[in-house]
């Protein structure tokens, strides 16, 4: 549809933001016969689930990031002092670049540079105003040189803002199959699940074979673990156990009924049932989570999760957008947009650069709301490593369990086209503010990375925004990525909104 034609049009549904939830909602509405206009103010798809090349990530941090959602980004580039073998830096050292609230302003105030030089130097130029040490682009110091070197391979990176995987017997996989998207989106299995503690990294045994062959579990631990697997994972037996236990917390059940403690307890509670540090999960829910995990194994192989190639969340969001377009949806990227209730009281007026549109209903990602309050906060780290740590060409989940918190981690490599050959990426995230959790995140990364060095580490704090104010009453807002490791929560959220819209 040519730009001029949009002005004055009416749509059943206007969706703002092309994050995963919005994409699913848009495609289901279009499939149900609604006219859909899908807008994103960014020049890319994916919203909070977007994935970028290294250069793209820098551009995002400086120019496109929603500053209420992600108020601060810190980037630490590791350097080697002259003649040193190893990089001595700690992850907790002062970051090389700090990109804060006024980054767009700072970027805009730079005089327009002639488009000379490579993409790499362009990225460096973009970052330079935010350097903490008066970086001069024309005479790069060691940090700048290290960054330039990394940027040589910029296109081999696909870095996700909200990394997640899909449970094999979960709603996301089922939705991908039902929608037909599963026929072309590619996945690799998340081959292993690791428990990381201060004294080391250990694979979580997930099946009878794993348990039998394990050399790090004692016989008694093997027996206990087998009992958990055979009892909890079986619906009949677990029902009996839960009834007997009454309304206890899952952790209590594991400790008292199954006599789990130490690393066994951590493995079952944190790595498999994925109970958060402050999360209260009752016995029934805990057993359900274990059952979902165990039944997921074997659907596509010996793994419980699948990880999408080229940045799962983003690829899937784009695929749903494609599906929506095929069913008649219209797409607009890179346009600022605002929404007002319509003058006649029915529906909304949506204003873009190309014109004004009437919408019966509006669904938006909360970053489009004019007034927001801040909900949950997540601290995230993205660490590019110079070697493989949890296996070559593989994908793995890891969970750091420490005395002050539990950190979820995802390890990716060339296997999912996330990093160039020989390098790997470790994502880490935990609930809470960056100022309070940065040390914990660094701890988790250090405990996992072994002998590999961090080349570049990006820290950010992501806020889930809750729309407030009267305009927002009839507008439906999506929540954005949560702290869970799998994509199912986005599907659940999207589908409850779809039900509301489609009735």
């Amino acid at each position: 549809m040519a730009e001029r034609e949009l002005d004055g049009q009416s749509f059943d549904l206007v969706v703002l933001g092309t994050g995963l939830e919005e994409a699913i909602i848009a495609s289901e509405a279009a499939a149900a016969g609604k006219s859909v206009l899908h807008i994103d103010r960014n020049p890319y798809y994916g919203g909070a689930y977007a994935s970028f090349t290294l250069n793209g990530l820098i551009e995002w941090a400086v120019c496109h990031r929603d500053q209420r959602q992600i108020p601060i980004v810190e980037i630490l580039v590791s350097t080697k002092a002259e003649g040193e073998e190893e990089r001595r830096q700690q992850l907790t050292d002062q970051p090389t670049f700090v990109i804060g609230k006024d980054s767009r302003g700072a970027a805009a105030s730079d005089p327009a540079e002639p488009a000379t030089g490579s993409r790499a130097s362009e990225a460096l130029r973009r970052l330079a105003p935010f350097a903490t040490n008066n970086m001069c682009v024309d005479e790069p110091d060691s940090a700048a040189k290290a960054l330039l070197e990394l940027l040589q391979n910029d296109r081999n990176y696909q870095i996700e803002l909200a990394p997640k995987v899909a449970l094999c017997r979960g709603q996301m996989i089922d939705l991908l199959i039902d929608s037909g998207i599963g026929e072309y989106v590619q996945f690799r299995g998340v081959e292993h699940n690791y428990l990381v503690r201060d004294n080391g990294v250990e694979r979580v045994p997930e099946s009878k074979e794993d348990i039998f062959a394990s050399t790090t579990l004692s016989l008694i631990e093997k027996r206990k673990l087998m009992r958990v697997i055979t009892t909890v994972a079986d619906q009949e037996q677990s029902k009996a156990v839960i009834e007997q236990a009454g309304g206890v917390l899952f952790e209590k059940l594991l400790r008292e009924r199954f006599k789990l403690d130490g690393k066994l307890l951590d493995a079952v509670l944190r790595c498999v049932a994925r109970v958060g540090f402050n999360e209260q999960v009752d016995a029934a829910e805990g057993c359900r989570r274990i059952q979902r995990y165990v039944t997921s194994m074997g659907r596509y192989g010996r793994m419980a999760y699948l990880c999408g190639l080229y940045g799962g969340g983003s690829e899937i969001a784009q695929s749903f957008c494609r599906l929506c377009a095929v069913a008649g949806g219209t797409y607009v990227l890179g346009e600022d947009v605002s929404v007002e209730p319509a003058n006649d009281g029915a529906g909304f007026t949506v204003s873009l650069g190309v014109g004004t549109i009437k919408a019966a209903r509006v669904v938006m990602d909360s970053t489009y709301a004019s007034t927001v309050t801040h909900g949950h906060v997540l601290s995230r780290a993205i660490c590019i490593l110079d070697a493989h740590i949890l296996g070559e060409d593989t994908t793995a989940l890891a969970t750091y369990v420490g005395s002050s918190g539990v950190v979820s981690m995802l390890y990716v490599t060339q296997a999912t086209m996330a990093a160039p050959k020989g390098k790997s990426i470790l994502y880490a995230w935990v609930e809470g503010r960056l100022s309070e959790n940065k040390v914990l995140l660094c701890h988790a990364i250090s405990a996992t990375r072994g002998n590999a060095s961090a080349l570049l580490t990006l820290f950010m704090e992501t806020h889930s925004l809750v729309a407030s104010g009267s305009v927002s009453d009839d507008i439906i807002h999506t929540k954005g990525p949560d702290a869970t490791v799998d994509l199912d929560s986005a599907v659940t959220a999207a589908q409850s909104i779809t039900e509301l819209i489609l009735g």
Partner: protein
């Protein structure tokens, strides 16, 4: 047909399918008559060979025809020439590979393969081993494959270092058991190899090997106490001990292991009955070694078992009455 696969329910055939089946049957009967006729007339030509091939492709179970085929091959002129025999038999192996897909468990086909390999001037045992590896990979408990494997290994030892081959095979069974500790074929094969390994070893090595076996068994017992494979292997291990002393040592170790297991698994029926049986055995080997308290414990356990596992009540009653007579204690199961 294969272990662990669901059986597909049979469907009523359509008229087309019935017609086709009848035509196939007619073809088969005609071919069968022709081949048996040729055999009766002692025809040993390449034509006859070809006819047997066609018939065997349809039905691998005709052992008379396999016999006939072997006779024909031996009577052909090409048999006398070493090179021609090699190529004829290699073709035969290729034919068998094709036929294997139809019926992986045909005794006659395996027999024929063994015959062909025995007659090959230059056999390819390593190639055969990789074939068996593949078969075992597809169905880890296919005993035809395991049996054939033992045959291949035995022949392999003619040309290669027997001890090294044994060690490799032993490692193979370990890998198979690690994959699935309920794989009886793997445990069985291991039991065939272990005596030779023990015989070759000096005392320190013997002890180390036995310790490894103990650990493997314990691993299996703790992972799945109700699976019988590890228990049976344990019994066998006790059996092959040369001296009563060794046997008693192993027995005591076994009793301790079971006790530990029972701390976690109070209601495991298998461990309980094993405990009683071991005490019974210990008492038989070393009179007076079972204490009164232990005897009473056994009798009580048998009573408990009878209540928990009613299917085997008769067996427990039987054991209880025998033990009460031998040990001169009360029979609680009456």
């Amino acid at each position: 047909m294969m272990h662990g696969r669901r059986r597909v329910a049979a469907k009523e055939p359509t008229q087309d399918e019935k017609d086709e089946a009848r035509q196939q049957l007619e073809r088969y009967c005609a071919l069968n008559s022709r081949v048996m006729g040729l055999k009766a007339q002692n025809v040993f030509t390449t034509d006859a060979l070809d006819a047997t091939r066609q018939l065997l492709e349809l039905n691998t179970e005709l052992h008379t025809v396999w016999n006939y085929r072997r006779t024909i091959m031996k009577k052909l002129d090409a048999w006398e020439d070493t090179e021609k025999r090699q190529s004829m038999l290699e073709q035969e192996l290729g034919f068998l590979m094709k036929v294997i897909r139809n019926n992986i468990k045909s005794y006659w086909m395996w027999n024929h393969r063994m015959w062909a390999l025995s007659q090959l001037p230059q056999p390819t045992w390593r190639g055969e081993l990789s074939l068996v590896d593949k078969l075992i990979g597809m169905d880890a408990r296919n005993y035809h494959a395991w049996d054939y494997r033992r045959f291949v290994i035995a022949r392999l030892k003619d040309t290669e270092d027997g001890d090294a081959v044994d060690e490799q095979e032993f490692a193979f069974t370990t890998a198979q058991i690690n994959r699935d500790c309920a794989n009886h074929s793997a445990w069985h094969n291991r039991s065939k190899l272990l005596p030779a390994i023990l015989a070759r070893a000096d005392q320190p090595r013997r002890e180390k090997v036995l310790q490894t076996e103990n650990e493997l068994i314990q691993n299996a017992i703790y992972t799945d106490p109700e699976d019988q494979n590890a228990w049976l292997y344990y019994d066998w291990l006790l059996d092959i001990q040369q001296s009563d002393e060794d046997r008693i040592k192993l027995l005591r170790g076994k009793i301790a292991a079971i006790r530990e297991l029972l701390e976690l698994e109070e209601d495991g029926t298998r461990p309980l009955i094993e405990l009683v049986s071991r005490f019974a055995e210990l008492g038989r080997l070393q009179p007076g070694s079972v204490s009164d308290a232990e005897k009473e414990e056994c009798m009580k356990t048998l009573c408990t078992l009878k209540g928990v596992d009613s299917y085997h009540a008769g067996r427990y009653t039987d054991i209880s009455s025998a033990l009460s007579k031998r040990w001169k204690v009360h029979d609680l199961c009456v």
